[in-house]
């Protein structure tokens, strides 16, 4: 039986890697990848706690998170395609249309 704290350590490290990825990368696609990493870290936490407490609720909620991540991927990729068609860049530094 692996202690709960091991899983929480893994998910914390993974979440922070995703956060740093959002901060340092310029490519729009990699930023979406980093968001997926953070959502997965949340899933690990939910399932580890669901096991710890012997309840099934955490698994059901992580199911919802997977669904939302799929929806987010679809809409994010549609936005990337529209942007690429208009400006032919994926660098987030050059996308400053809504900046004032």
């Amino acid at each position: 039986m692996i202690p709960l704290s091991y899983y929480i350590t893994v998910s914390t490290v993974m979440f922070v890697i995703g956060l740093v990825g959002v901060l340092i990368r310029k490519n729009f696609l990699i930023i979406l990848f980093s968001i997926e990493l953070m959502l997965n870290a949340a899933n690990i936490n939910l399932i580890a706690f669901s096991r710890h407490h012997g309840e099934i609720d955490g698994q059901v909620i992580s199911l919802f998170i997977i669904t939302i991540a799929a929806a987010e991927a679809a809409v994010g990729l549609a936005i990337i395609i529209v942007l690429f068609r208009k400006k032919a860049v994926t660098n987030v530094d050059e996308l400053n249309l809504m900046k004032w």
């Binding site: 350590t9 922070v16 340092i24 990848f33 997965n40 199911l63 987010e72 395609i81």
Partner: protein, 169 residues
Amino acid sequence: MTELLFFLYFAVLTIVSSVLTVGLRSPVYCALALLSTLLHVAGLFVLLHAEFIAALQVIVYAGAVVVLYIFVIMLLDLKTVEKFLHKQVGIAIFFGVVLIFEILIGLFQSPLFSSAPKVIAQTEAPIGNTAEVGIALFTKYLLPFEIVGIILLGAVIGALVLAKKVPAS
């Protein structure tokens, strides 16, 4: 002992491939590293006795979402650029490490970890994990389940409307 060995394998590979996901230069390699991360996270879910979620992770994430990402990367024909990181990379990594320690110290100080785990109820369940998730999904979580369906429909319509070619007028 074997369980711990498998846990260490999956945990180390998860973290290494998530570092590669944000650190590699070419977007295709990043997508493949993300695929590896998701598969190893599915291994962690199996170790936590969440077999249904592990299967779903492989099917939905690794099978559908990452393939969609790779498809878009191929479609866009992205060029690998030299400067792929922002200037503030040093500051971001420093504060990331600080944040890891802050969260972990905060968690391990909490009374959460002194409580003994209650695992007997789940491991001795006569019905399987999938049946258990299904029962919870269709009784206690019926309304959220329906709402998630509507969100997915909205995402499909939104993606279609966004990606539709605007007729030149």
